[in-house]
Symmetry: C2
Subunit: 221 residues, 2 copies
DNA sequence: GTCTATAGACCGATAGAC
DNA sequence: GTCTATCGGTCTATAGAC
C-alpha cells in the first residue's frame, strides 16, 4: 500500500498525501500520517513543501496541469472537426478526468477534486480558480458556439450542473454500483457515455422560463 | 453572528456547529470553536451529545427529517396528480432542499450536505444511507413509472447525476453568480427551475449506447 | 537532504465541585 | 445543567546536528 521506494522523497510524499487526502480529507489528514505512509521523516515535508497548505496545492498541480492540457487539447480537436458537435465538446470535458480515474495512480485524485469543492473557504479554491478557471471558461465559449440559441443564464447553470454531476460520478458517490462482471475501466466508460448523453440532452433543453419574482418556492418555518 | 441567547444550550450548540461545519468542514472544526461561538462551556457539548461524531449526526437529523418528509409529501402529491409528470417528481426532489437554502437558518445546512458527500469514509455516510436512503429509492421508483422506456442502468446513472448537480448547485460552487439585482430567494427559484428543466431533458434522453468492453477511453501514462 | 528533539499550541474527553 | 481544571494525546513547524 505504501509508495514504491524507488521514487524520490518528494514524490513519495506527494503520493502518500494524495491517497490520504482522498480518504480522509485535508483537515482530517496530518502530516505525520503522510510521512509515516511515505516512509520519510516528518521534517521532510516542511523541507520540501514549506507548509501543509502548499503541499495540498502541489498535490493538485501535479495532476491538474496534465488533466487541463488533455481537456483543452481534446476540445480544440473536437471544435476543429465540427464546432457544432456538442457531444464532442462534452467528451473533451468529461473523458480526461474519468480516464484518470481508471489509473490506479490517479483514482485517488479524482476523489480529491470532489473534496476540494466541499472545502469552500480555503486558499485552495482560490488556487484552483486562479490556475484552472480559464479551462472552464473556454468550454463555456465553445458550447455557446455549438448552441447559439442557448440562453446565457441557462448555459452557465447547465455547465455548473454538468460539472456537479461529473464531480459526483467521479467520486463514485450515489447509488450506481459497478456490476460484478464489469471492469473498473468499463465502469468509467459507462459513466462517461451516460453523462455525455445526459448533459447533451440537458443542454439542448428548451429555455428555462423564469418565474415571477413574487411567487415561487414556498419559504418555510 | 452568534446564535440568539433565547435558545437552549443544546439548540445553540447545534446552530453554531451547523454554521462552522458548513464553513470549515467536520474535521476542520473543533468543539472548542463550536462552544465559543455558541457561548456555552466546552463541557456542555459532551454532556448533551456525548461525542463529536454524535453531534455531527444530530446536526443532520435536525434538518434531514423535515426535508425528507417534505420531499416525500411533495412526491406523493405529484404522483397522485399525474404519475407521468416527470417535472413534478423532479420538483418534489429539488425544491425542498433549495427552499431550505433560502432560509437564513437553513442556508448553512445545504452546504453541509455537500461536505457530507465529500467525507467519504465516515460513519456519517452510513448514518445518512441508513436513515435517508429510502427517500432516494422511492424517487427512483416513481421515475421508473413516469418513464417506463428508460433503461434501468440509465435511470440510476441519471438520478446520480441529478443529485450531483443539485448538491453542487446548493453549495453554490461553480461559476453561476447571483445577479446583483436578484434576491437570494429568486436565485434559488432560478436554480430549481433551471435544474428541473435540465434534469428532465437529461432523463428523457435516448438510451445510452454502451461501448464494446475492448475499446473506449484511452488509458494514459 | 535527512535526521533528532522539541517548542508551543490545540485537541477531545472527563472528573468532580456547585 | 453548568462550571473549572486537567489528563493524555495530537498537531504544525522549526532549530540544529550530521
Amino acid at each position: 500500500m505504501n509508495a514504491a521506494p524507488q521514487f524520490s522523497t518528494k514524490e513519495r510524499i506527494l503520493g502518500a498525501a494524495e491517497e490520504l487526502f482522498a480518504q480522509q480529507g485535508f483537515a482530517g489528514t496530518s502530516l505525520r500520517e503522510v510521512t509515516r505512509r511515505a516512509d520519510v521523516n516528518i521534517a521532510a515535508v516542511n523541507y520540501h513543501f514549506g507548509s501543509k497548505e502548499n503541499l495540498v496545492n502541489e498535490v493538485f498541480r501535479r495532476r491538474m496541469d496534465d488533466m487541463s492540457a488533455r481537456r483543452l487539447q481534446a476540445l480544440h480537436r473536437a471544435v476543429a472537426r465540427d464546432p457544432s458537435d456538442l457531444e464532442g465538446i462534452l467528451a473533451a470535458f468529461i473523458e480526461p478526468p474519468l480516464a484518470l480515474a481508471i489509473d490506479r495512480s490517479g483514482s485517488a485524485f479524482v476523489r480529491i477534486i470532489a473534496r476540494a469543492y466541499a472545502e469552500k473557504n480555503d486558499g485552495l479554491r482560490r488556487f484552483l480558480s486562479d490556475n484552472y478557471g480559464h479551462v472552464l471558461r473556454e468550454f463555456a465559449r465553445a458550447i455557446a458556439v455549438a448552441l447559439p440559441e442557448l440562453d446565457r443564464d441557462d448555459l452557465y447553470w447547465r455547465l455548473d450542473f454538468t460539472a456537479g454531476a461529473l464531480t459526483y460520478a467521479m467520486a463514485d458517490f450515489g447509488i450506481t454500483q459497478r456490476a460484478d462482471g464489469r471492469s473498473e475501466a468499463a465502469h468509467c466508460r459507462d459513466a462517461a457515455q451516460a453523462l455525455i448523453q445526459f448533459a447533451a440532452a440537458g443542454l439542448r433543453a428548451p429555455r428555462t422560463l423564469r418565474t415571477d419574482p413574487e411567487q415561487g418556492l414556498e419559504k418555510h418555518a
